[in-house]
């Protein structure tokens, strides 16, 4: 069957209701290390620049070269950018996985593949788009590297014709990308054109799944969460970053370093207003941040599951000795090494109670890059205000994938809140100073920094039991008083923590969720609205929980707690802290390493509803 006749048959074939103009999923199946990533990014960003909401996801191996990697791009004009099951167009250019990749395409969907090698047609219910990518590149390019790399650009060019991507946007992006390396622009544009013309010559372009310029994503940004955190740390005044490389957290410190080199150079001397230490391990990474925090600099570290496990002892010290420090936990799949390049919300309990003994840690849960930026900047104020560690709980999905969100904002009048730190002058006025005296009754004592005053304010910080004057004690009652004060401090933390985001309209059922589950929620609500089922929502943004969380649970007959782990960790925490009745709390869980989808949530809630409304075609 020629490609033309395939395309023709497609024209008469019925199109799937879920897909259409500005509404489809394209998936790229590549070999990692083959240069596909930048080509695939080019594809997604070009769609974004047409003003169309888009959500790309990397599904990549823990490997440098040679293993399968996928890039999944959902386009949805309604702005539903959670993951959607099913692939409408598969760019199947990895021979290792091509059979399974083709199997994952929905009936009547499309498969673009490299026809330089014969492919045994394994399905009759999908449309094949054969392009001899390798042969084209062998013919057109001399350099062996280019012959490989440009195969990716050629398929992007073909997709431009097939999906109606604005070609000028693509060439404009190539020019931007290679600014300063102009001689690379021409061959890249040539590769795009080769694909574009091939598709125009051999297929009916565009396909029924295609793009139309939109205004939906206009004025927004497309950014990954880790970049936003790195930038938030620059804005929030962090001067010390100590870290140990660990996927998927690595790009946090890389982004911080990149922006610091541009924005944190003293204009007079050319010297740096920041220091980054790549430590020997995560124990040292958090230790350095704690040492800096103790001495009055804003400091952070970024890590993920295995590294955060190593930091536990130090987190307990910072909790008990009351030292401000910020940890960004970009969660990945555990336990142990788990799936290092897949996403999960599996560290909730281990972080909330990080370290031995009675500890409670402050957690923040961003769900968009904009919140990553804001929470990163806020976390330093919060840590200083509460004199305790703040753990920002992002995940691989948010951290390493680009998301469409509102532009970042900064109020220039904003001052850093350094919390209760006594200056030398203030110490001069004081009758008595005790590091852990609760003079204000809020459980937060006043601290001093080394060097503040020649004779006053010094104290000995320790992880061993201490009294209000910071002296060592084995008096159990004095110890208990300190522990009670710490509990009071923690209980009162809510006033400086972001409030939950609530959408309530008096429904009897509600959904409680946090972090990257947020991407799927508008679509879930839309699906249930269409069935006439109302669901209120509450998105948790911090721990300890605000009172509004308990109220929300009380006010609803059934609460679906949606999270991405096996053990319903958020539900456990809600039961412990909000005394929530187990009967009404229903878990919706996903822990297969990819972000939870609206379909999954919908299916789980549907199965739980007492009277299942009449089945109808699920549509997005």
């Amino acid at each position: 069957m020629s490609s033309r006749s395939q395309a023709a048959s497609r024209k008469t074939g019925k199109t799937r209701k879920t897909a259409g103009v500005n509404n489809f999923v394209v998936k790229f199946a590549n070999v990692n290390g083959s240069g596909s990533a930048s080509a695939n990014n080019l594809f997604a960003k070009a769609i974004f620049r047409m003003g169309i909401p888009v959500s790309p996801h990397n599904i990549f191996p823990s490997n440098i070269q040679g293993l399968p990697t996928w890039y999944e791009v959902r386009v949805n004009d309604k702005g539903f950018l959670g993951r959607r099951e099913g692939v409408d167009l598969m760019v199947a250019v990895n021979e290792q996985t091509i059979v399974r990749d083709i199997e994952s395409v929905i009936p009547d969907g499309f498969v673009l593949y490299d026809s330089s090698k014969a492919l045994r047609p394994i399905r009759k219910d999908v449309n094949f788009l054969p392009i001899p990518l390798k042969d084209i590149c062998l013919r057109e390019f001399q350099h062996p590297g280019q012959r490989q790399l440009f195969q990716n650009i050629v398929y992007v060019g073909a997709l431009a014709a097939l999906l109606d991507i604005d070609f000028e946007i693509l060439t404009g992006m190539i020019s931007e990308q290679f600014r300063g390396k102009e001689k690379l622009i021409l061959p890249n544009v040539h590769a795009l054109e080769l694909g574009y013309h091939y598709a125009r010559d051999y297929f009916d372009c565009p396909l029924p799944i295609r793009l139309r310029p939109s205004r939906k994503a206009r004025g927004k940004i497309l950014m990954d969460g880790n970049t936003a955190i790195g930038l938030g740390c620059v804005y929030g005044g962090a001067t010390v970053a100590s870290w140990y490389p660990l996927t998927p957290s690595t790009s946090v410190v890389e982004a911080y370093g990149k922006y610091c080199k541009r924005l944190r150079i003293d204009p007079g001397t050319g010297k740096r207003k920041f220091a980054i230490v790549q430590a020997e391990d995560e124990l040292a990474a958090i230790g350095i941040a704690i040492g800096a925090g103790w001495n009055g600099a804003r400091a952070f570290t970024a890590s993920s599951g295995p590294g955060v496990s190593l930091m536990q002892e130090f987190l307990g010290l910072a909790y008990f000795a009351e030292v401000p420090v910020v940890l960004f936990n970009i969660q990945r799949v555990g336990p142990s090494t788990g799936m290092p390049t897949r996403t999960q919300q599996g560290d909730l309990l281990s972080c909330a109670f990080a370290s031995h003994g009675d500890t409670r840690q402050v957690l923040l849960f961003p769900s968009t890059p904009k919140e990553c930026f804001e929470f990163a900047a806020d976390s330093f104020d919060i840590a200083d205000r509460l004199q305790t560690p703040v753990i920002v709980m992002s995940d691989l999905e948010l951290g390493m994938n680009e998301h469409v969100c509102e532009p970042l904002e900064w109020e220039d009048a904003r001052k850093y809140d350094r919390g209760k730190v006594l200056s030398g002058e203030q110490l001069e006025q004081l009758e008595e100073y005790g590091r852990y005296l609760d003079v204000d009754g809020d459980g937060v004592p006043w601290r001093t920094l080394p060097g503040a005053h020649p004779e006053r304010g010094s104290y000995f910080t320790r992880g061993s039991s201490h009294d209000a004057m910071a002296a060592y004690t084995e008096d159990g009652n004095v110890y208990a008083e300190v522990m009670d004060r710490l509990a009071r401090k923690f209980a009162g933390a809510g006033k400086v923590l972001p409030e939950p985001e609530i959408h309530a309209g008096g429904a009897s059922r509600g959904m409680v969720y946090f972090g990257t589950t947020a991407g799927a929620i508008p679509e879930v609500q839309h699906k249930f609205d269409k069935r006439g089922v109302r669901l209120d929502t509450l998105r948790i943004r911090s721990y300890p929980f605000h009172d509004a969380v308990s109220r929300f649970i009380e006010e609803h007959e059934v609460v679906y707690v949606i999270e991405q782990n096996r053990d319903a960790q958020l539900k456990s925490l809600l039961k412990i802290d909000c005394g929530a009745n187990d009967e009404k709390m229903r878990s919706v869980l996903s822990y297969n390493g990819v972000v939870i989808s609206a379909d999954q949530i919908q299916a789980a809630i549907l199965a739980d509803l007492p009277e299942i409304p009449e089945q109808e075609q699920v549509s997005a």
Partner: protein, 351 residues
Amino acid sequence: MSYIVKPKFHHPQLQKNDLGYTRRDYEGTLTTLCGGCGHDSISAAIIHAVHEMSLAPHQLAKVSGIGCSSKIPSYFLERSHGFNSVHGRMPSIATGANLANRELYYLGISGDGDTASIGLGQFCHIVRRRINMLYIVANNGTYGLTKGQLSATADLGSKTKSGEESRYDNIDLVSLAIDLGASFVARSFSGDKEQLVPLIQAGLSHRGFALIDVISPCVTFNNTPLSAHGYKNTWENNVVLSEIDFVPMRKEITARYSAGKDKEITLHDGSVIHLHKTGSGHDPGNRENALLHVNEHKKQGKIATGLLYINQDQSDFHELADTVNKPFNRLNEHDLCPGGEVLADINETFM
């Protein structure tokens, strides 16, 4: 914990230093260590050293790990901030503290368990990072707080009080530090205050990472005639490579050792170290020579002490990291925040 409060009374005619402070102003709480513990002599030497060089106590921060050794920062320099952290991790706390404020003096106190076992990794890396600090190891070859297990610095064949014999080669911290590029490496003995005090002064004044490995006998668990780290063995086998005298900056030179002065080293802050060679042929400016002397003495069952190695040409962490002179902890939003307009430009790059 100390149930007895240290008396505040002191003799009215105690000698005052340039800042008007007496020795008492540099003391800490009452020690809780065993009577005769070498570590108390180290505390006393620190008090003596810092007072004598007229260092304002609040300009120094004490950091330590866990163990008998790491408790001692309570017993000196009460007017200095202190941080008793977690086992083996003092180097990371010291690193962070130093990054936050480069203007203070940092004094790290650790032990042989803290440095040579649980914290060996952190020790190696703080040497590599060239943090400007003095790192003192109170080295007794045993775990005191857990009642006398052998540590990794216990010499092969050394026996503890319970009769347990060290069957493994020891980790030699001075050799390791020299090998890793530490720029000031000394070994001393808690019982030799004449040597330890000027070494502490020189180590604090040195710009860069300074290590003093102090043999500090544990009277309770590791002080038998068969203990390599015991008083008897250390007194008998201590070989002083060169006698040292320290003259703080802007001070008149009044050397303790009147004759035989044959090397003078001026430190970056203007202080001067006088080394009185004892005919050992040791050259503290030469890394290989320093290592050779340490190893040769060890082979003969001797302990080479003194300033083993010094290199003043090395940059410290802040120079390598090219940081601003103003301490990070004094930078505010005006210094650090790029502002809304810049952010709007950054947004553009993501559109």
